[in-house]
């Protein structure tokens, strides 16, 4: 007996068929083939870039031009993708886990030791290191933050960054301050002079909810006080007196000193503090040099601000003003186009490209030959360069770098929240919070 196909049935089957066909068609993305060795001309590599510019769009523009130059030179094509910071570490993790990833990728240099320990990236030694120009072409300070001391690094420096003290020239003039503060006490005093909460003006703009900012300052100020986050044997010392003092000084900006906008205890996306400074709502800020890009986007002219050395704790023997900040570049061990990848890395770290890219991004070159370029002789960049060359130290290079930042950054964030909502925190509060972070760090495997 024939059954008449009803419309409903036909529709469902058609939809199913269409969906299945579409799904099957979407399968099988192909990778391109391409062996290693021999001539690299005609090969295509994949590159994951980090967000260095004011927007992903801007990054796309800058990199497209750079890659065009590279392809012209070598005949190697590059498929690149700019990944926002919120996703970069996760993407790298999944790449390492799956074994499928790009050929070349950017990493934050504070991740270098952690990623080194996964064993998923090509070690830079011997012929590999020679292929990118050798160790000596790089600034020693930038190189020092590329991996655990004594072990072969699996990433090399790409862009250099350092902190500096930004100050609003006009506001300083109006308040009768002739030169930017050199010591921490001068810094707090100046900030108080420039503080006018009823008008919505504050002495300093900072982001109290940013884990990374907090971790950096705990380290920098801690070093200024003669302490460190880990002792020589690798055990965490978050609650040692120098670190406690450093964190208390920092948190007091929200607490007893009240020279920052209380709302900044909630800021964390890297844009609000700089927007506040750019609009003249804060007279100073301590930020990394790529902030200049941001300030420009927010309408602040170069002539309106100056950059000075980061204030140093009174009587310090170790005037560290920044950790060795920057972006490194790595090659995936599973890459099937190692020679092409190496050529690309060599290209990006060549003098010409270092000058162009760092100029466009507002960052600092990491190779010695590019340092002398007039592009980096502007007053602000000169200051940053000096700071990076003379007053920088790498954050502790341990396997659990990520956890370290999280534990201590979060502890400081909680303290800032307390200071803002309660009015101030005591030294005991600070020590207690840091002890807890210390315990977590110990439980996570100390500092091996």
């Amino acid at each position: 007996m024939r059954v008449r196909v009803s419309r409903a049935r036909a529709f469902v089957w058609a939809a199913l068929l269409a969906a299945v066909l579409a799904v099957v068609a979407a399968c099988g993305g192909g990778g391109d083939s391409g062996g290693g060795g021999g001539s690299i001309r005609g090969q295509t590599i994949t590159y994951w870039a980090s967000n260095q510019g004011a927007s992903i769009q801007q990054d796309n523009e800058i990199l497209r031009k750079a890659i065009a130059r590279f392809t012209k030179q070598t005949g190697v094509k590059v498929n690149f993708k700019v990944i926002p910071w919120s996703d970069l570490f996760t993407n790298i993790t999944t790449a390492v886990t799956s074994g499928k990833g790009p050929d070349v990728l950017n990493i934050g240099n504070t991740w270098s030791a952690t990623l080194q320990s996964t064993g998923a990236f090509e070690p830079f030694e011997g012929s590999t290191l020679n292929a990118v120009g050798g160790k000596s072409k790089f600034l020693s300070s930038s190189w020092s933050a590329s991996g655990k001391p004594g072990q072969t690094p699996t990433s090399i420096p790409l862009y250099g960054l350092s902190y500096g003290l930004f100050y609003n020239k006009q506001l300083f003039q109006q308040a009768g301050i002739s030169s930017p503060p050199k010591t921490w006490s001068e810094f707090v005093a100046d900030a108080k002079k420039l503080n006018n909460p009823s008008k919505g003006q504050y002495g300093v703009a900072l982001e109290g909810a940013s884990i990374t900012e907090n971790a950096h300052w705990a380290f920098i100020l801690g070093r200024q006080n003669g302490g460190d986050l880990f002792d020589k044997s690798g055990k965490p010392t978050f609650d040692s007196p120098p670190i406690v003092k450093a964190v208390k000084d920092y948190v007091d900006l929200w607490g007893t000193d009240k020279v920052v906008n209380p709302s900044s205890a909630q800021w964390s996306d890297g844009t609000q503090a700089l927007a506040s400074f750019a609009k003249g709502k804060a007279a100073m800020t301590m930020w990394q040099n790529n902030a200049e890009n941001n300030l420009r986007t927010n309408g602040m002219k170069r002539s309106e601000y100056g950059v000075a050395d980061v204030p140093v704790v009174d009587g310090s023997n170790t005037p560290i003003m920044t950790h060795v900040a920057g972006i490194n570049i790595s090659i995936f061990k599973n890459s099937e186009h190692k020679n092409a990848a190496l050529a690309f890395v060599k290209f990006l770290t060549s003098q010409g490209e270092q000058v162009k890219l760092n100029e466009e991004y507002g960052s600092l070159p990491v190779v010695k030959s590019a340092q002398q370029d007039p592009a980096f002789k502007t007053p602000t960049l000169k200051t940053f360069n000096q700071i990076l060359a003379k007053h920088a130290q790498p954050m502790p290079l341990i396997d659990q770098e990520g956890q370290m930042e999280t534990f201590i950054g979060d502890a400081v964030k909680q303290l800032i929240a307390k200071a803002t909502t309660r009015g101030s925190v005591s030294e005991a509060d600070v020590k207690a919070q840091l002890s807890e972070a210390n315990q977590k760090m110990q439980a996570a495997g100390g500092g091996g």
Partner: protein, 280 residues
């Protein structure tokens, strides 16, 4: 029901409060999407001093919104269609047949609602990668992987709802069809599905909402080729700026399909739930 003055007043009050709570954030989104960036980042003004529709133009340029939109649409529609189809078959089996393992299957399917996503996120990812290595079907960074994942996510709820719905439909008609010589599957298509369209519509819209809004698995399983709106929208925040007005405008654009579909089908959803899910 009697409608006294006081009950009318309390009804008005109740509706007013609920409406305000619902509208307040919606109003914020809409009003922020037509302010210039400087205004939207400054003090919140109820009535914008400058109105601009530029954000609606710029959202397509700042990030490849159209590309993400198409990805999300394709993935969500495919996941919905497949999920509904698979759920219909499974629900038909459970509601019309007694077979060994029926209870276990039902219980297991419902139990999957308890699984914390983070527990099976990474293993799922590794399984996908291994499938690709062994039999060559690309699941990571492909539409397929995400479609399969999303359709499975909405499967338990869909099956549960459809079982309830089917059970409420008397079997007389199907039995008549069977006597006439139809196969059970034929009876399913010719009799049961046409009657159940409201329930199926309800199930379809839930499946679509699940796929359209999923964040966690999309963040791990997509690459830029397959990126969905859930992850793509984050790119309105860059190093130096969060383009709030564009983000709000994009939010509206992104929400329209799902809200409109939901509202268009709401009558069916309510009747679908009434007959089906309510009787569990």
């Amino acid at each position: 029901m009697r409608s006294s003055l006081s009950s009318k007043a309390s009804r008005v009050a109740g509706l007013a409060i609920l409406s305000f709570v619902v509208i307040f954030p919606l109003y914020t989104i809409v009003i922020s999407s037509i302010k210039p960036l400087g205004d939207v980042r400054g003090t919140f003004e109820w009535i914008p001093s400058h109105v601009t529709f530029r954000p609606y133009v710029e959202i397509w340029k700042t990030i490849p919104l159209a590309h993400y939109f198409v990805n999300s649409l394709f993935i969500s529609v495919a996941a919905t269609v497949l999920s509904v189809a698979v759920a219909i078959f499974a629900a038909y089996s459970i509601s019309r047949y007694r077979f060994r393992g029926r209870g276990t299957f039902s219980t297991t399917v419902l139990a999957t609602q308890m699984f914390p996503g983070i527990l099976f996120l990474l293993p799922l990812f590794v399984i996908f990668v291994n499938i690709e290595k062994s039999i060559g079907i690309q699941l990571y960074g492909s539409y397929t992987g995400l479609i399969i994942t999303y359709l499975t996510f909405s499967l338990p709820f869909s099956i549960w709802m459809l079982v309830g719905y089917f059970e409420a439909i008397p079997r007389d008609l199907e039995e008549a069809a069977l006597i006439d010589g139809a196969t059970p599957v034929g009876a399913l298509f010719r009799i049961l599905i046409p009657i159940s369209l409201p329930g199926i519509a309800a199930v379809a819209i839930f499946a679509f909402i699940t796929a359209w809004g999923e964040v966690l698995f999309a963040s791990v399983l997509t690459t830029d080729k397959t990126m969905t709106l859930a992850i793509g929208l984050r790119n309105y925040a860059s190093q130096s700026n969060v383009f709030w007005n564009q983000l709000m405008a994009a939010s509206i654009v992104v929400s329209l399909p799902v809200v409109l579909a939901f509202l268009a089908l709401q009558r069916y959803i309510v009747s679908g739930l009434t007959a089906g899910g309510v009787k569990s």
